[in-house]
Structure formats: C-alpha cells, structure tokens
C-alpha cells in the first residue's frame, strides 16, 4: 500500500504536466477504464466448456437413459432421480458429504488459525516452517492417501508395532465405520490445514501492532486482545478462508478412492465417489449417476448459499 502511494505521489506531477486541459484529463481517465471485453473472452469460453455446457448436458443425462457408448437414448422422466434416491448408497452419501465437508472445514480453520496465531506470536516470518507447511499442499491427494494408508496398515504400518508394544492389539483404524470416517477427516486436515495457516498468518501481519500494544497497556488480557483487536482485523480473511475450505471439503474424491473405497460398508461413501462408481466404474448407470450429481450439486449449492449469507452477516457486523 505504501509503495503504491509513494508511486502515485511521484507520478502525480508528471501526469498533471501532461494533461493540462481538463478535457484531456477526462479522456485519459475514461480511456484507462476501457479494457476491451476481448480480454475476458477466453475465460468465458472456458466457463462455457467447463460449466455451462456440462450443466445443460447433465440435466439431459439425468432425465434420459444412456449407456457409455451412446448418451441420451430415451426420455425417462424422473425415474433416474427416484432410482438414485432409492439406492442403498446414495441418500446416505449426501448427508455424509455434508458432514465431512462441515467437520473438515471447522477442523482445518480452527487448527490452522490456532497455529497461525502461535507462529505470529513467534515473529513476523514463517521461516523453515513456511517451507514445511508447503509440502502437504503440493503433495497429490492420491499420494497423501497412499502414505497414510501405509502408515495405518495393521501389518507393516507405522503405528501397529507401537500399538502392540503398549499391550493393545488389533490396530486397524480403517476397519471400523467411525474409525475410517475420522481417519479420512484427519488425513484431510493434515493436507489442508497448512493452507489456512499460511493465509491467516498473512492476515495477522496486517493487524496494527500499535493497536495491540495500546490494548495491552490498557490492561487487556490475551483473550481480550484477540477478541477486540485481532479478531475484528482478521475476520474477513478467516471467513474467506472458511468458504475456500468448504469448497475444498466438497471436492474430496481421491482420498476415498485410495484409502477406503467408500467402506467399510458405506461408512466413507461420499457423493463424489458414489457418482464416479455408479457412472464410470461399476454399473455404468449413467442416468442414475447424473441424477445423483444434480441432487448433490443442489445440496452443495444450498450449503454454500447458507454459509455465504452467514459470512456476509459476520463480516458486515462491526
């Protein structure tokens, strides 16, 4: 900000010299804002290809019968929707996806923010930990899944030996429904918590130091300083990060494939994995998978809308 302002101050006289008449100044000011629409066209074409076309086509697939070789064979009305909702795996997968995304978001935001506060207390640079924190972020989720699955293996894993030495037996967190779901959450948190830490840390750097010191001089405790000085300054950023985390939480697919394949039972069957399995892997029921996709996207949109409203309210209040 300060750099920009300095530059502005330096450039000011030059511009004033050049645009002596008011008319010219007006033309320049307006001219700058005429960034041609052409610049936006490639991104809009991309949006058409990746968003608009698939949405329209998806609705077509959801109301018709298709096979892998030939789409849109026969109009079937809402049969695909009723089939999806009556299937054993799909309705539960929706609830599970929402719970997973919500829990994962709360986990990464709370733990990530706490770590950012801790790091900020240490100084204004991330140092070596900044490099370490980047590693999970650039690791392919498939590989994260592989690494954790190997670590948690009942035989040859990292913890099974320690587990039995302590006198417990049957170490297999992926063997039970609750264990598998919680394990996925843990792995997800390992991968994405660093992103929250990096972003919130950057926001913390902008908290005015003299304000914090003034509050401390007035005798405010640590919690009080956080609530009244730090939090108002980083609230907008944390909410933005929270929305981002929620988006990422609904995208989870790779981890399920590699770590649990949706099991045991359907305990980790998230909607994205159900859609992939139904459409392209097991039964090739394109229609049912498409109807499931429509329902899933509707639910995700509803959740995002609710969180969006909550965010607007929270950011607006002051």
């Amino acid at each position: 900000m300060t750099v920009a302002e300095t530059t502005r101050a330096e450039r000011g006289p030059v511009l004033a010299l050049r645009s002596t008449s008011a008319g010219r100044r007006w033309r320049v000011a307006r001219g700058t804002r005429r960034v041609p629409f052409l610049f936006a066209v490639p991104s809009i074409v991309g949006l058409m290809l990746l968003m608009v076309y698939p949405t329209v086509y998806l609705l077509g697939l959801a109301f018709t019968e298709s096979n892998l070789a030939r789409p849109l064979q026969r109009w079937t009305g809402i049969t695909n929707f009723t089939d999806a909702l009556r299937s054993t795996a799909f309705p539960g997968s929706i609830g599970r996806s929402v719970v997973f995304a919500a829990a994962a978001t709360v986990l990464v935001v709370v733990v990530g923010t706490a770590l950012a506060l801790l790091l900020r207390a240490r100084g204004d640079r991330l140092g070596v930990l900044g490099v370490v924190l980047l590693l999970p972020l650039v690791t392919p989720p498939v590989m994260v899944g592989v690494a954790w699955k190997l670590m948690l293996a009942p035989v040859g894993g990292a913890f099974a030996g320690i587990w039995s030495r302590v006198g417990l037996d049957g170490f297999n967190p992926l063997g039970s429904s609750t264990g598998a779901f919680l394990t996925l959450l843990l792995i997800y948190t390992w991968q994405w918590m660093p992103l929250v830490t990096i972003l919130v840390f950057a926001a913390l750097l902008d908290v005015p130091r003299d304000l914090v010191e003034a509050a401390q001089l007035d005798g405010a405790g640590r919690i009080s300083v956080f609530r009244h000085v730090v939090w108002p300054a980083i609230r907008t950023s944390v909410w933005a990060v929270l929305v981002l985390a929620l988006v990422l939480g609904f995208k989870v697919f790779d981890l399920v494939v590699v770590v649990t394949s949706g099991g045991p039972g359907f305990s980790t069957m998230l909607s994205s994995f159900f859609i992939y399995r139904t459409g392209l892997q097991n039964s090739y029921e394109i229609g049912v998978a498409s109807a499931a996709t429509v329902i899933f996207v509707a639910v995700v949109s509803a959740v995002m809308a609710i969180v969006g409203i909550a965010r607007k309210r929270a950011v607006a209040e002051s």
Partner: protein, 273 residues
Amino acid sequence: MSRLSTIVRPLGLRLVLLLIGLVVTLPLLFLVSLSLRSPDDVQNGGWIPTRFVWANFSNAFDTIPLATMARNSWIVAVGAALLTVVIAVPAAYFAARAPSGQRLSGVLLGSYCAPPVAALLPLYYLFKDAGLTNNVLGLILVDGLATVPVAVWLLEGFVRRIPEEIEEAAWLDGLSAGATLRRIVVPLIASGIVAVGLISLFLSYNEFLFAVSFSQRTDSQTLTVGLSLFQGDHTIQYGQQAAASLIGVVPMYVLAVLAQRWLVAGLTAGGVK
C-alpha cells in the same frame, strides 16, 4: 502480540512448533523409510530400515509404467499451467480494471465452488466424441481451464496493486490496451504470474478425478492414476508403492522449496483480504 512471546516461554513454543513440523513431515519420512526396506523388513513394522534396499525404486518401474506416467504427468502439468496463465492474465486485467470486471470474477469464483464431479459425465461424452479421451490434450484442457478461476482471483490482487496512473501514462503515450497489458502490466505482475503458473502446475499434476476417468490406456495415464493402481493390501508392494510415490513427489517438493517465496506471496496476495 509482542507480550505474548514473553508470556509463552520461547522454549515451549519452539517445542510445539518442532512437534508440528514433525507431524507434517511424518508420513513423508515413513514413505522414505518404507521405500528403502525389503518386504520382510516391512512386515516387521518398525520405523528404521534394518538394511537399506534400493531395489524398490527399480522394481516400481516394472510394476507400473512409471516412466511413461511421469512423462504424461509433466506434459499435462506444464501444458495446463501455460493454458491457465494465457487465459487468466488478460481475464484478471479485465476483472481488476473494467467496469464489469467484478461480475466476471464473481461468476468465475462461483463456478469454482461447484464440485468437479458435476462436469464429469458430460465432459466424458464430449471428450470421447472429440477424441480427447485417452489423450493428454484432454487433461491439459480440463486441468488448465479448471484452474482459471483461482488464477484470476489471485492475479486480480496483483493488478490492483499497480497504480492506475502508470497505465494512464501508457495510454497517453498511445499504447493500445493489448500493448499496455503486454509491456506494462505483465512485467509488473510477473511474480504473480509465476506463482499462479506454479499453483496451476501443482494442481494439474495432482489431479485425479478426470485423469482416472478419461484415460483407460496406460500410454496416456498420469502418475496419480498409476499410484492408485497399486493394490495396497499386499505388504510385498508397500516398498514399491512408497518408492513410486517418492519418485512422483520429490520433483514437486524441490520446486516448492525453490519457489517458496513466490508461492506464499501468490497465495496470500489474492482476494482473501
């Protein structure tokens, strides 16, 4: 904040941070350990290899076509990164400076919120008809385009930090919009472009959903697909699986460490504020 550092004993803080560093690197260290062990040694379930074995690295190349997959991953990642940058730079300039720019970035960000699985089946048919399944070009296209919203969002922050007077001066000197973008804006946001290109590279290298759905033949499959093909239930392959994972991820770590400054600046420069 400054008092916080005197309240929390620096030693305790350092210990906590050390612990966090350990938790973050634990799975990676375990992969290294596994990759250096023989199948028998893996069964023991210890942490340190009793004897270093290098065979896993060469054997992994026989179990899956690792070299081909690594090549495919790099082609897809670099191609997608270039595509993202070429599309996102002018779009970010438009988003930051045009009157309707906010609408563009809003729509793009909205599209990013949709789960990618929503486009899976429609794009499958489209790509099949266009000959883009079993083809790295198809993955470059979908990965490159999928990263555009994030890239525009981040680059917008960089463009906004350029004083508008600089562009005004360029206009005054008779530069066209295209020339202003190329000769004034691009050099000023170069660090942001590098960051966004790298982020797109990482995301595309890591992509799995479209890669596994659109490529059934090994000649176009990427590393992430190859790694998912290992049957993790046989301890005999743990070492190989770990070795293959490391072969895939170590170049990315080197890149991330080298470009750390750009990456962190890029991630934090965007609209999170």
